[in-house]
Symmetry: C2
Subunit: 246 residues, 2 copies
Amino acid sequence: MTSRQNRNRDRADRGIPEATVARLPVYLRALHSLQERDVATVSSEELAAAAGVNSAKLRKDLSHLGSYGTRGVGYEVEYLVYQISRELGLTQDWVVAIIGVGNLGRALAGYGGFASRGFRVAGLLDADESIVGQTISGMAVEHIDRLEDLIAERGVSIAVIATPAVAAQGLCDRVVASGVTSVLNFAPVVLSVPEGVDVRKVDLSIELQILAFHEQRKAGGPGDYEPLAAGDEPPGTTHYVEAVEA
Amino acid sequence: MTSRQNRNRDRADRGIPEATVARLPVYLRALHSLQERDVATVSSEELAAAAGVNSAKLRKDLSHLGSYGTRGVGYEVEYLVYQISRELGLTQDWVVAIIGVGNLGRALAGYGGFASRGFRVAGLLDADESIVGQTISGMAVEHIDRLEDLIAERGVSIAVIATPAVAAQGLCDRVVASGVTSVLNFAPVVLSVPEGVDVRKVDLSIELQILAFHEQRKAGGPGDYEPLAAGDEPPGTTHYVEAVEA
């Protein structure tokens, strides 16, 4: 059940590295922006700049999809959107249940970016009787006791866990026992799952930590790695960074 | 103001690639878990598995910090935590203001993962008079008119924008005009900033898209890239994926 074994298996099956898979949604976001501006074709350099990667990496990533562009023209935006969407599985609808309807669960329930990418939130569940029955983003919150029935009735294929840490593993176990094999975890805890189940964890502080790195650079730190030595780097470095991973 | 120019400048200055910087918080998360279990040393293989990367990449990443471990022993957990925290700038406090106190802003205001990494939320701001004055996670929401004063008075160095898309650019401009050079953007819009300002964008749907990719694989799709051809890949592939980027 190690992640490496399965990642290698994945590579052997399809030849698409995990790191490429992780960048495809970023390319897709950039391509959607181009579509909004009625751009029909895009060079690898332009698309790479918009996505915040270098163009050689972009071309290699897209070659895994069998997409090579046309010399002197670039990539056809609409077809590339179709190819990436198809590769990611976004050309079909995915039924999502959100478990835990606190502030984060509410924010996710109303998040416009889900519906536009083919994710349909079909259920909101919480254990708190004072929340059950409330209408959030047009949907009534249901009691967590209904979890298994709701998954079966509505064909839920992805569970989003947005509960406190202490509740997450138990709910994850119930979700997996109900046959769901994809879990997006916002709870601050590492979930254990059997082989065949994908868990991805979102840590909202990671992007802040990357900003702190650059903020420190701008201030001139941290200097060399002599234990506890004071910083001695020249100040004034500036950066503009587009997030490649969110 | 292109991202590539500045990224290259960054590399030349310090020799730490952006991709390595993005993985350091993931290593740190894994190391904190080891500390909680009183683990004193860790091999590169163990740490790599916990972080979801391969061990060669981990060793190379850590070598940028001047950290090479000890043959047969591995890395000393406590010292590596110190090195990474120092590199990321987490050994000092960062003062954060959250702009936009809807569901997401509330979730971020109460997010435990910020304080524990050195991020102190010193202000909550909103334009909605019905929200101003409310107490969220022990802090009173202030009117957005106070933005510039609040940044100056409290020494805000990182602004978190959690507003609707339409308001984000104007608020970003005000934040930047007040001297803040790090912006974490949750609004579904690309922000324009002058050179010297770092923006990182969080798209909450990206992890879901990666799950969809694997879910589709498990179901046997999408097959080859003949336009509109039906999927013809053997079913039954399973994966376990640890999120490397959040």
